[in-house]
């Protein structure tokens, strides 16, 4: 019982996860592949770029333009004493048809000597690659142990990727499990960006090379790489997000990754897209879908099934489990056979046919568009007090009513119509149903909205007296237009139904209507500067200045009367200096008020003040001495 419950919950969980599966948002379109090939096909300048060009193009299934010249280039430029040079030449020659690099015993010994713990991982990789491409034997187990020792020393991402690439060149009998574990460790080091991208912080080239190496080694060993479906899709998004490649090495890594992802034993990312816009109408009833791999090549074993097509507005499922028919590499489905109403539909599409497909459940939004027809158009002038019966005119689209209809302030204009889908006869409620009245003489335009009632009949009423402000009370002939529009309509309508003569009651509006022109210069704003504060009259200020200074006079008089004198003034230098310094400080105060700022004042004050202080101290000491002496 518990086991069944567990299975059911697992099944439900799988359904939920499936519904939220990630789909690739980037891939190489055919134009991108052509551009990549053109970018790789650069003239051969040095051995490394020749390697990228030749091997990169071969991964994309293309060939260098002149193979013989390329082979000659490799033979002449390779240096038998350099490991890297031998690697590039050997690998490139393998990609060319009928190109052999001559090998001597010294070369072979040199390459074999590199395979040890003392060389770097990239050296070992180049040596193993060269040995393999030149058809020379090598001891795989030695290589494995050397690699394992080097990985522990060189722990960076690029070194481990190179180790993976090396391991995929070794014999299958060797024990590659130690190297194989590194794929999982490296995958853990990838950065997840927003749940959409997965890449190394070392960059795109590293990510692309990781993809190539991981799938290369997994295919070689026959074990599925430990990457989840979502991770594979995220890697696809990252690697193919950049469409302008900066260097040959980067382009080569992208080409290798694309080749690895389009043809390996475990995971094939599937790209599903519609051919043209995802719109279905009576003129074009088939929905066309293309299913390709990341290199935009069609997948021969694929079969496409729409699991459910649900209307966005009504949430009804219109179609279930219908399969597409394959015609010339395009999958087609005639959606109109299920008689859908016009609107938007969510399609859940699944691609089957190969257990390796990744990102095979896709959600598409499909629009079903139709044509609209107007029926039962009734235009009438109704009297407000209903004493006279309404004069109604029936108009057929697209003709116009005969003669202008006259409505004055005692009458209402009423318009009613129905909108039907021409193909199915269902009543429609489009987004835009406007009634426009346009006065040609004054270039005035007033637009109203017609609303549907409960039976989906559109009604519009114009009360001339009530609405006169919108018309600026301009009487005259107005052309009545009906505007119908919607995203799902193939034939939007602009129909001049009739001419209406409107008579407004009071002609108090100006004869010339100033069009509410928004783009005319506005009146200039005069800037009001801040008014200076009101000062009191000069007389008052002068009077009070005199009043404030008057007590000084009083002081002088009082002191004179009291007999104050300076007869006891000992003319010593310190006394003089003190008084001068004091006067200078008062003068400095005045100068501060008029000229200086605080910092300058403090500077001068420090000088003058210290002098004054010292002089004053000395003077007082002298006075004290004199006083004590006289006692």
């Amino acid at each position: 019982m518990a086991r069944e419950a567990g299975l059911i919950s697992l099944f439900l969980l799988a359904l939920v996860l499936r519904a939220q599966a990630l789909t690739p948002s980037h891939h190489l379109s055919s134009a991108d592949v052509t551009r990549l090939k053109a970018f790789l096909n650069q003239p051969l300048e040095d051995l490394e770029s020749a390697y990228y060009t030749i091997v990169g193009l071969s991964k994309l299934g293309a060939r260098v333009s002149d193979e013989k010249a390329a082979c000659q280039f490799l033979k002449s430029h390779h240096d038998p004493t350099s490991i890297d040079s031998l690697f590039f030449a050997a690998e490139a020659s393998q990609a060319l048809s009928d190109c052999e690099i001559p090998v001597s015993n010294e070369t072979r010994d040199l390459l074999l000597a590199v395979v040890s713990e003392d060389s770097s991982v990239s050296q070992i990789h180049h040596a193993v690659g060269a040995l393999g491409s030149l058809g020379l034997p090598l001891a795989s187990q030695e290589v494995v142990s050397a690699l394992a020792a080097r990985i522990t020393k060189e722990d960076n991402v690029m070194a481990i990727i190179v180790a993976l690439q090396t391991a995929s060149r070794l014999s299958q009998q060797a024990d590659l499990s130690r190297i194989l574990e590194e794929i999982e460790d490296l995958a853990a080091r990838l950065d997840d960006l927003g749940g959409v991208y997965l890449q190394f912080e070392e960059g795109l080239e590293a990510t692309a090379l990781f993809v190539t190496a991981a799938y290369g080694l997994s295919d070689h060993v026959g074990m599925e790489p430990p990457l989840k479906e979502d991770q594979v899709v995220q890697l696809v998004n990252s690697v193919f997000s950049k469409k302008a490649w900066t260097s040959l090495a980067e382009a080569f890594s992208i080409a290798s990754a694309a080749a690895a992802l389009s043809d390996n034993r475990f995971h094939i990312p599937v790209i599903v897209g519609t051919q043209g816009p995802a719109t279905v109408s009576h003129r074009q009833p088939t929905l066309k879908i293309q299913v390709t791999n990341v290199l935009s090549r069609p997948l021969p074993s694929a079969s496409v099934v729409v699991e459910s097509a649900r209307s966005v507005s009504s949430k009804n499922v219109v179609l279930k489990q219908a399969s597409f028919t394959l015609r010339e590499e395009v999958f087609e489905l005639n959606f109109l056979d299920s008689k859908p109403a016009s609107g938007y539909y969510d399609f859940a599409v699944a691609v089957a046919g190969d257990a390796r497909f990744v990102g095979s459940s896709v959600e598409l939004k499909v629009k079903v568009s139709t044509e609209v027809g107007i029926t039962n158009v009734d235009l009438s002038i109704v009297d407000k007090d209903q004493s006279i019966g309404p004069k109604s005119t029936k108009v057929e689209y697209p003709s116009k009513a005969n003669g202008p209809l006259i409505a004055d302030s005692h009458q209402n204009l009423a318009l009613s119509f129905q909108l039907v889908d021409e193909n199915t006869g269902v009543e429609l409620t489009p987004h835009q149903t406007f009634v426009r009245l346009y006065n040609q003489k004054t270039d005035q335009e007033v637009v109203f909205v017609a609303e549907p009632d409960s039976k989906n009949v559109y009604r519009f009423e114009l009360d001339t007296a009530e609405r006169k402000s919108e018309f600026n009370s301009m009487s005259g002939t107005y052309a009545l237009h009906l505007i119908i529009g919607d995203a799902t309509l193939e034939n939007p309508i602009l129909w001049n139904i009739a001419d209406i003569v409107l008579k407004f009651p009071d002609e108090d509006a100006p004869s010339v209507v100033q069009s509410k022109n928004l783009y005319v210069a506005k009146p200039e704003i005069q800037h009001l500067f801040r008014e200076p504060e009101k000062k009191p009259a000069t007389v008052v200020s002068n009077a009070f200045t005199a009043l404030v200074l008057a007590p000084f006079l009083l002081l002088i008089i009082l002191w004179y009367k009291l007999g104050a004198n300076i007869s006891n003034f000992s003319i010593t230098p310190s006394a003089l200096l003190f008084h001068l310094g004091h006067a200078a400080m008062l003068g400095l105060m005045y100068v501060y008020w008029t000229h200086l700022n605080m910092f300058q004042t403090l500077k001068y004050l420090a000088i003058v003040g210290s002098l004054t202080f010292l002089a004053g101290n000395r003077m007082l000491a002298q006075k004290a001495v004199k006083r004590i002496g006289s006692q």
């Binding site: 404030v548 007590p551 009082l558």
Partner: protein, 83 residues
Amino acid sequence: MSNSVLSVISRFLSEYSSSTPSKLKLVDAYLLYILLTGAMQFLYCLLVGTFPFNSFLSGFISCVGCFILAVCLRIQPRPLHRF
């Protein structure tokens, strides 16, 4: 009532002029001067207004400061002839 106030004031003035040493009177004259200056400024502020407020503050507060310093000198309890 005013009679007694007037007599008190005149008594005080005569006592003051006779018993205060002249040096103290000098300081008192200075104090009076400062007081009047400050009072004039305050009067202006009351009558005409506080514009410019900075000037009023600086003038009034400097008067108050000088007054306080002079009062500190005056209240020193020194023997009168020693100054």
